[in-house]
Symmetry: C2
Subunit: 205 residues, 2 copies
DNA sequence: TTGAATATACCGAACGAACGGTAAAAACAA
DNA sequence: TTGTTTTTACCGTTCGTTCGGTATATTCAA
């Protein structure tokens, strides 16, 4: 009777024998790929099940909350991954240039060099009416922008321009991924990554 | 038995009495709003019909090709609108700064000050596997980037940096709209528009 | 160390609802 | 009339979801 908690926690599963049939993290990753490719509506249970290598009913054993819980847990896992691999390095004590280099490398892996879309984009609804994941998405964007702004402040920018630069970098990231999907190339994303360091750090005090 | 042509043409409907029951352009606009809000999969015939103020079967009378034709014609209409209201002014003889001002104004209207998402983003599929509208979307992006680059060349930039700046502006536009949807605000888009002129023209030769 | 009892992981088959789509007739215009 | 537009009613399919059940572990009493 674990797995009942859909929340972000994911930690409190102690003193429970792991039963390795299909690893949870791997499962979430496979589902995540589908959501990133097709979006929420486009990700049917059929393709989700096929991607997971399970039957639909089996997915419901792991996610009693159904499709929405799947997306929610995928989103939470992505949030955790971002926090660990992107936000933490950004807030480290290393010199800003080095932090940005790490950021570039991590982003490249996270988005498979531009081949994979951003979950936050694919799961977000219209700005007028908020969807089921509005809160999480908003929080994730805010966290990324804030962490990037911290690194930029450490690089010598004042709070205001650090914030502006940070937000612009996230916009460029998202925009490059949109362009990749639209143009059928990964070039925009790769170009973005190449220019990101000077985009962030050029012209600092 | 008009409307058979699903293509981009939309022009060859001469010598046919227009029969104003519900205006075609207005209809396409309403459908377009749905596609921009929900994406292709999310836009069910039920909500499309409701938005159009028609029954499903009535929609099929106008779009024998079904949902795909609806999206295709909406996309073609958007392409035409972009060509007229955005590309043409960008290629005009007016001074670059003025062209950019017009661009800002048109973009603001086109995206309802950030309240409406971009059709090109909402209709594009994964970069790995191309969807039904891949060609049109790619063409639209390329046209916008090219037209913007023309204006930037006229502003004194060399071909290479004009191209880079143009592409970056489109990325910022798309990214700002993604951020608007994700954060539930129109502020990123409005900020983008405010900064767009100097983003485009600052530092020119 | 057994053997029953209990959990866990998975699956085949089916559910009602909603999907995209169609046929035929009513309503309306010319 | 004739032809177009809209509607009501329906089709087959797929949707997300649930049920009943099987196989494999794990637990625990004897």
């Amino acid at each position: 009777m674990r797995r009942r908690v859909a929340g972000v926690g994911a930690g409190v599963e102690m003193h429970m024998a792991r039963r390795a049939t299909i690893d949870d993290a791997r499962l979430l990753e496979k589902l995540g790929c589908v959501f990133r490719e097709c979006g929420y509506e486009g990700a049917s249970l059929a393709v989700l099940a096929k991607a997971a290598g399970l039957q639909k009913a089996s997915l419901y054993h792991r996610f009693p909350g159904g499709k929405e819980q799947m997306a929610r847990e995928v989103l939470a896992a992505a949030e955790a991954l971002i926090a660990r691999d992107i936000l933490m390095p950004l807030k480290s004590k290393a010199p800003p240039a080095e932090r940005v280099d790490i950021l570039v490398r991590q982003l490249n892996g996270f988005y498979s060099a531009g081949r994979q879309a951003c979950l936050l984009n694919m799961l977000s609804a219209a700005p007028t009416q908020e969807g089921p994941f509005a809160k999480e998405i908003k929080r994730a964007f805010a966290a990324i922008i804030a962490a990037l702004a911290v690194a930029l402040r450490d690089a010598g920018f004042d709070a205001r321009s650090a914030r502006v630069r940070s937000e612009r970098a996230v916009m460029l990231l998202q925009g490059s991924l949109v362009l990749c999907r639209g143009m059928g190339t990964t070039r925009p994303f790769r170009d973005f990554l190449k220019r990101l360091p000077q985009e962030l750090l050029a012209g600092r005090a």
